[in-house]
Symmetry: C2
Subunit: 498 residues, 2 copies
């Protein structure tokens, strides 16, 4: 079904991607969008085989994978819609005038070039071969070379076949998509270092993302790396809300921490509360909820071993105690819910406790007072998300805390849990380092298209040679900022000088 890609084959694939990049410029945004929608159709057409293949390779459940397939199809379709809308191009036009600019200047966004994509093991559809990174890059006009995830290669093959079918149907250029297969790291390194590749998207561990970012920075021509590397997603329990709903919050928390056997980059791996009766009520409810949480099989044996190892390392740290645990015996390669506890002072002093434990694990940090909670917030590194369990009064009385936390995360939530990342334009799935290598961009939602573009200004160009979105008549009907006013209107006067 697939073979390890040789060095020569990879070089050929990259040469094709270079060629495809130039070919792609002859295709309109509408043609790209049509290609994307056809990919969505072809993914759907893979039917049960896709679900069964992914179940066998990842141990994820059928309902979970059916949901993820729907999400993946939504990504292709909604990014296609947004690509056509054209707002992501941030078109700005200053016509020649005395007040603004003495010459005619028009700015749009252009594609960076071929993109290398490294997918995640925990989302075999939505963050892998045909995931959001690939969809964003193609929407931007960039060919994609995917390094197939070694944890689910057969799923990757199926997805590549769906994309290829759509490519043929839509008569898109060869080389607009390709996939390489390798169990080693050399072929992946070749992609990152190769002059054809102009950007990298990665979803996975901090170690993997950091290695790729360092490699890309050392190139003769450094390129941007958009690595989403996970985080511990702190949840702050504020007093009034905890007093009102300690037991309900505990139930919701255990549901979130065990969702998908805790194998989400938005898994809430840290809780922060203030010692007292309400926190005691909360922890008692947490114990009850945890004891009934059924262990479940993790993605593959390596992930289960890593969970055991990192959890055991966390639990062996000085003054860490187990607070709540699943009471149901677990089978091989399963993960069992575990909640530990530690004092704020110990947490702040020990960076080992700030590390992610990938799986159904969370650490409760117990503060003596609100000032200690501030100190915990200050000690936390960049996160994808942070959550407040809080009433409106709680938020009003903890404004310094919410400011400190805002500085450290990409999405800040009230009274919901961070697992469940909506695919919508307002979503920011990103955050300050080390959650990602580039805090300015999202890897979920159509704004992710912008990662693979850069601005280009056209000065004094004849109207007929401008890209469509910059032409006077506005044939793509995109929103444009013309002489500082946002408008859908065409430009009445032709450009002077021709």
């Amino acid at each position: 079904m697939y073979n390890e890609t040789s060095w020569d084959e990879a070089e050929l694939i990259l040469a094709n991607a270079r060629q495809a990049f130039r070919e792609l410029k002859k295709y309109s945004i509408r043609q790209r969008a049509s290609f994307m929608r056809t990919i969505a159709v072809e993914i759907e057409a893979l039917g049960d085989e896709l679900i069964k293949t992914a179940m066998a390779e990842t141990n994820l459940t059928e309902p979970r994978l059916i949901g993820e397939r729907a999400r993946t199809i939504l990504q292709w379709n909604s990014y296609a819609n947004y690509a056509e809308l054209g707002n992501w191009m941030d078109v700005r036009i200053d016509t020649a005038s005395r007040t603004l600019s003495k010459t005619d200047i028009r700015k749009t966004a252009v594609a960076l070039g071929p993109v290398a994509v490294f997918g995640a093991g925990n989302f075999p559809f939505a963050f892998s071969t045909a995931g959001g990174d690939t969809a964003s890059a193609i929407a931007a006009g960039c060919p994609v070379v995917v390094k197939a995830h070694p944890g689910h290669p057969k799923t990757c093959v199926l997805m590549a076949q769906a994309i290829e079918k759509a490519r043929v149907k839509c008569r898109m250029p060869e080389g607009v998509f390709a996939q390489v297969y390798s169990t080693g790291i050399e072929i992946g390194q070749l992609l990152v270092k190769h002059e054809v590749i102009k950007a990298v998207a990665f979803t996975g561990s901090f170690k993997g993302g950091k290695a790729i970012a360092d490699l890309a920075a050392q190139r003769h021509e450094p390129i941007p790396v958009f690595a989403e590397m996970g985080s511990i997603n702190p949840v702050f329990l504020l007093p009034e809300k905890l007093r009102m709903e300690a037991a309900q919050v505990a139930d919701q928390f255990i549901a979130s921490v065990t969702l998908g056997v805790g194998q989400f980059c938005t898994n809430p791996g840290l809780m922060v509360g203030i010692a007292g009766d309400d926190l005691n009520t909360f922890t008692a409810a947490l114990k009850n909820a945890a004891v009934n949480a059924a262990p479940a099989t993790m993605l593959h044996p390596g992930i289960a071993q890593n969970f055991e190892h990192t959890r055991s390392n966390a639990l062996q740290q000085s003054e860490v105690t187990v607070l709540a645990q699943s009471g149901i015996a677990k089978a091989e390669n399963q993960g069992d819910a575990t909640i530990a506890s530690v004092s704020a002072a110990t947490f702040i002093a020990n960076p080992a406790l700030h590390q992610e434990v990938f799986g159904p694990y969370s650490l409760l940090v117990v503060c003596q007072n609100a000032d200690e909670m501030l100190a915990v917030a200050e000690a936390i590194e960049g996160q994808l998300t942070a959550t407040f369990i809080a009433t409106s009064n709680d938020l009003a009385e903890n404004q310094t805390l919410t400011q400190i936390v805002q500085e450290r995360c990409g999405r800040i939530i009230v009274n919901q849990f961070p697992t469940g990342v909506e695919v919508c334009l307002a979503m920011h799935h990103g955050g300050p380092y080390p959650a990602t290598t580039n805090s300015a961009h999202t890897s979920v939602g159509a704004d992710g298209i912008k990662r693979f573009t850069r601005p280009l200004s056209f000065q004094n160009w004849p109207n007929e040679h401008l890209p469509e979105e910059l032409q006077n008549a506005n044939p793509l009907e995109v929103w444009r900022t013309i002489n500082n006013e946002l408008t859908l209107e065409p430009i009445g006067q032709p450009v002077a000088g021709y």
Copy 2:
């Protein structure tokens, strides 16, 4: 007037910047904009002393500096206007609904944190202490620490005084702006490496920008570096236009290459033409224009020596000949117009000829045919600008060429010259590496504000605790994308759940 900043003083300045960043959050965008406009007023109020001081420190002429002061004031005022307009925040709101998002999510842009600015020697006002980088960072809500340019320290002091006066008048927090002075590199390195600093803006040489970018990438928490490092700004002479206007183009070219003694990052340091009668007419006109070009004093002796050295290095390369030169004797520290010539094959084979010669120098690359011109375009690295001297027919007949060149530049011009960078929203002053370290951003025009921000999503937040631009009523009257529609309208329904 100023002293070398000690290590301890720099640490204190950085601690103040950290404090100021939190304080700044209590100020509205309108307050920041008012501060920016007051800075513009205070720069104007420096009057003749500013011009005389800069003349003495830089050898730039009075009209040139008066023009640059006007540009600098325009930057503060126009960025203030754009900051208030709020479009740079790219607000997206998805209200809870079944079709888009199951929960209420609202995304805005937040400030990165304190920014270190390293200005340029050739623009003592517009790209220095009170230049576009400082204005952009303050517009974004970031405190700024400037490393005063050692080439014009007294000008830097005056500008810092103007900013301080405005700060006091507008009651902005202490530490929102500070400047350090040092003739060594250690204090600058401290800024780049210090955990308080969250982004760096730099304008200057490739060597300087690369060193800063490498240092920032090696931090425990790597930070973005927006370095604008100059380029050789190729000008392609296409046949039909050259046939029509060879002599006029030659005059315009010499005017552009000698403007400001060639000390612009957009100086056209490369011409590419096809051998033949029209190119001969062009070069003859070039000689006539160059011979009458008066030498002029460069920024300081080091710059003049560097011009001599890099020009001499270029002219000593194999098969390079001098084509045209100023016929007027030059005085000490002056730069004299020099145009060299080389064959396309030699140019492509010798990377030394692709290097910038900072001063009134340009190299004509002579191609044998259109295919060779394509090969020259392919051989060129990332550029701030590229120019076509072309008719509409020329552009139609050279679409592959224009595509290749578009891949390599940030601004692409027809029948004008790249010197003269308008301060307007449609301007992109940036480009692929090595022109800059980040091709996604501009250092001229109000879109430069975005460099110092990142997105932050608020999920399920009570309306009263949201930032103003995300509140239902839209009190700042900013354009927002609500459920995929761009609108100025408020949101009628309050958020459910409270």
